[in-house]
Structure formats: structure tokens, C-alpha cells
Amino acid sequence: MTARQLPKDIISGILFVLLGGGALWATSELGGGASIAEDPALLPRVVGVGLIVSGVVLVGLCLVRRRLGVTGADDAESIPVDLPVPEWDDRAEDDDSAPGEWRVVIGLAAAVILYVAGAFELGFITSTAAFVVAAGLILGRRRDARSLIVLVVFAVVVAIVAFSGFFELLNVRMPITPLR
């Protein structure tokens, strides 16, 4: 079975077990007080154990469902409610089998990280304007002259308004950067 074929509940369950284990490990050196009430590790450890148990339950339920050939929300802990369900317009919705827009998400995420790195090192206004233009193009904005002009003007306005609104108005000190 490849990683792609593993149901997401199994992957999630394993990750939660690891996270719970990590919480127990990270709190293992915390000094306990004279009583349980003074132990700062009390809640993190309870949560760590809870995450491990919940992760195991999640994986177990998923394996049981697979063994019984049950899919979706049709499991013992599903909560059926006798209410009408809205019929959704499916123009932009995916079913479980359809791949999502991973390429665009990754492209936008990369632009966001570059923007964050640049905005507070190089300059907020310049970086913001550049980000808005880049993000618009990544999201598939048309590249004819009129659309591009609108995008650039919008980007500059957003950059100036965001700078004035968040930093001038709130008196937040910005790092001194080469590009304003």
C-alpha cells in the first residue's frame, strides 16, 4: 500500500499518536511540585495521553470500517440527523476522488512565504504590491492589458491602504528596510 492509498484517517491517527508522544517527551523533564496541583505538566501530559488514545481510536475505527467494507461517515460514531440536507450547487465543488488545486495552493503558499520574508526585511509597500500582483497571476487572472492594469493599480492601492491602516493608524513600528 502506498502512502497515497492510505486513508487520511490512518495518516492523521498516526500523526496524532506521534504528537501525543511528543507532548509526553517534551514535558518529561518538567519538575513536579509538592502535589499534583502544583505540577505544570499535569494538563500537557493528560492531553498527550488523550492524543495517543484518540489517534489509536481513529486508526482502529478506520481499519474496522475498511474490514467491514463501510465507507464515508457510515460508522458507529457518525451522528445521523433527520433533517433535510441542502442540495449544493456543484459548480466549484469537488468530490472525494477529484484532485484539488494543489499546484495553485503550493504556488500561492510559496508567494506568501516570500512575501512575509520580504515585507519585513526589504520593505512593506513594495513587497505587498509585488505579492498582490503575483498572487493575482497565480490565481489565474487574465493577462490582457486591461486586466493587468487593474491588477497593478489594485495592488498599489492595497499596499498603501494596508500600510496606512495597519501601521500608521495603529502606530506599529515597522523594521527599517531598504524598500519602503
Binding site: A37, P40, L51, L58, D82
Partner: protein, 521 residues
Amino acid sequence: MTPIAASVGSLYTEGWSLVISPTTLLLILAGVLVGMIVGAIPGLTANMSVAVLVPLTFTMSPTEAIAVLTGIWLGSMYGGTLPAVLINMPGTPADLMSTIDGYPMSRRGEGGRAIGIGVLSSFLGGTFSVLVLGTAGPTLAAFARNFGSAEYFAVAVLGLSVIAFVSGSSMSKGIISALIGLLLGTIGRDALTGQTRLTFGQDELFGGLDFIAVVVGIFGLAEVMEQVYARRHRVKERPQEIAGVWAAVKDVRPLKWVIARSSVIGTVVGAIPGAGATIASVISYGTQKQVSKQPEKMGTGAPEGLSASDSANNAASGGALLTMLSLGIPGDSLTAILLGALIVQGVEPGPLLFENDTQLVSSIFICLLIANVCLLLIGMFGARYFAKVLDVPRTLMYPLITVACISGAFALNGSTFDVWVMLLSAVLGFLFARADIPKAPLVLALILGPILETNLRRLLSLHDGDVTASAGTLVTSPVGLPVLLLTAALFALPMIRALRHRNPARRVGEQHPADVGPRRK
């Protein structure tokens, strides 16, 4: 019982001097307008709009901050009705039941009437709940003044237990989400011993994660990414026409009992810690279907269905604020954000707030009333203009929201560390959506966690760490025991229902209402 600190009458009068200033009134109006615009865009939730704009309120007075934030909240709730009616897609999850009858009305040319019914029902439901807040708030606060650690611990556990109801089809995923929220809440210096926990040597983490940064990431940037992943940026909406909004005025009289019943349901459900507007509208719609004289017409464009949903989801606002202001316990994820915003302002919601700062509580109450009036006027006069929001290209809207998230996170403390916390929270929120894990329990647990932990440890220390004696105090408390029994029932009921519905024929096509919503895969 302790005498009521803030009399009911004083709540109606004392805060006017704080509210009747051009700035505050303008902020309420602006909040409602912004909320309506954001709410009208499918996928952009009330949580997102409030969370992203919280940092802008830091330089305001508490009254101004709450004025603008409640305006956004109520505005987005109404704004969400527009796409629900016009394109069969709720603008916010709380409006999901509005699509069932709203869109069929719109398709048969009654879009304006449907929106009018939505506005009037929202206004009446919202106003009713605010009046309940003004009446019940001081009483509940006076009652809660006698709360000790045991009672607060029990109420915090109750808040977390409602996760069973807001977790969609999988309770275990809701519990996991809450556990992660609790874990994130323990990062930083322990309030009782001063020891640092889970900071990994990072000085910036000594004070804990900034709640607002986490919320902006989870509800703001993560939702942008989810929308992109679901290809919403490629959609060109084709809304139905809007005409005849004012025709809905004639519908109010025949719908008066629907609105009254739904307002009561919305207020009560909203007041239950952890519930919220979505659950309120689902329960209200279900109740209306059960009591309706023509249940077969519901789902085909029946005004009573739309009215039941819209009255309840706006009425939930007053209920949720009632719990937040009088107990200091958030009623839902949105009031958790409001609670965070008030704490930043130096305001500590809870029973003592009603005693120590009646004027502020009164001003919040009055702001809500004015926001409801703004909602009525703008909603009735401006519906056709707000529908134009659906035409705004997402290729411009999503970058704009991203910039607001990043700038807002930096503005919290003037630190890029908060921006990275926000980004990591966004990644977490996006992964949660991919794994079908609800985000609301995490946010609730993040704010309830410290309340729960502090009171549990105080309770234990009162008994020198004796767990049995502490449990004894908890179950002998007149508040603790009923609350804990209610908590147990909330966990057990969904499971009992699930077992009763194990007949496979009945399960086909059934979904938990919390799972219903624009699928963002």
C-alpha cells in the same frame, strides 16, 4: 443569592454616553457594512472577517472595538443570506439552512422577497436575543458570582463537551481538535508555578501563543487556501435577480410565531457554551419542520423555513454573548475571538464585569441594538447593491485578505514571530480541512484550556492535591453536578442516536448538519 449587581434598567441606560458619539456610530455602521460584504462572499465566514479585523481595533476603546466587531459579526450573518438565496451557496456556515427554502424562492422569481424575509427575521431574532441579554445577563452574572473553582471547571468542561455536537460526523476528530487546542494553550509560562512549558527555548513563546495570531491563521489565511484548493477562485457566479425586497414586510405577520419560536431557540442554543449559530439554525429549522402545518412545503421555497433559519442564527448572537459576558466562557468560536479581543483591551468578561463596569456592559448591549437597526436599514435598502459583491473577482479578493492576515498578525505586537505563528496556524487549519477535522473545537479549547486548567489545579490545591476530595467537591456542588451530568448527556446522546440509527437503509444519504456545507476538498 447575591443581589443583582447591574440592574436590568441600568443596562438600558448607562452606556448611551459611550455609544452616542459620531465615531462609535460610524464604526457600528462600518462594521455592519464590512460584515455584509464579507458575509456575501461564499466561503468567507464571520469568524474570518472578525478575526482578520481584530488587530485594527487595538487602538480603539473597548466600546468602539466591540461596536465594530459585533457590527461585522451581525453583518456577516445577514450577508451570508444573499448568496444562500441567490446562488444556493451560503456565505457563512450559519446560513446553510437558508439555502433550502431561499434558493427555490429565488428561482421562482421571489429572490427579493426571500432576502427581505431574511433581513426582517434576522433583525427580529437579533433584537429579541439582545433584549434577553439585557434581562438575563445581570441575573446570570449575579448567580455566577458564587462560582468557585469547581463550578468554573465544570462549565469549561461543558463548553468543551459541546464539541460532540459541533464536530460533524466524527466525534473522535472533534476531540482530537480540542486536545490540540488544549495543548497549544499550555505553551508558555505556567500561570501557577512560573515554569515554562513546550517553549523549546524560544523566548517569544514564554508568553504563550498569541490567540489572535492563531485565529487569524486558522480562520483567515487557511480559509483562503481552502477556497483556492476548492477552485472557488475560478468560479463566476450568476446570481438570480433581486426585486421586491419590501414585499416581505407583509410576510412578517403570518410568520410571527415562526420568528418568535426560532428566536427563542436561537437564543437558548447560542447561550450553551460551545454551540453557536450554525447549530441554532439547524435545530430551529428541524423544529419548524416538525411543528409546521405544511411540512411537505418546506424545502420547496417556504418562507417559514427561511425565516426559521435566519431568525435563529442571528438570535444566537445574543445568547452567545450572554454566556461570554456573564460567565467569561465563550458561547462559540466567534465569541471566543471577541473574548480574546476584549482581553487585549484589558477587559475581563465574567460576573464581576457586570458589577465593576456596568457602563461598558450597557454600551455593548446598546451597540448590539444599534447594529441590529443598521442591519435592518442597510439590508432592506441595500440588498441589490450588496449582491454585486458576488461579481468581485476572487483573484483580487483573496490576495487582499492574505495581506490583511499578514499585516494584522504583525500589528499584534510588532513582531514577525506572530506572523510565523499565524502562517503555521494557517497550515494547521488547511491540513485540518484536508483531514475533515473541525477547527471550531481547537479555537474553543485554546481559550477554554487556561480556564479549565487554572480552576482544576486551584480545586486540587484546595484539597492538597487529593483527587478524591476534589471530585467530591465537584459532585456535591449545586452547579457542578448538574453541569457535569449535562456534559455526560451531551457526549452520550449523539452516540445513542447513532446506535438507534444503525439501520443501513436509514443511513443512506444522511449527514450530520455540521458536515453540510460547501465541500472544500
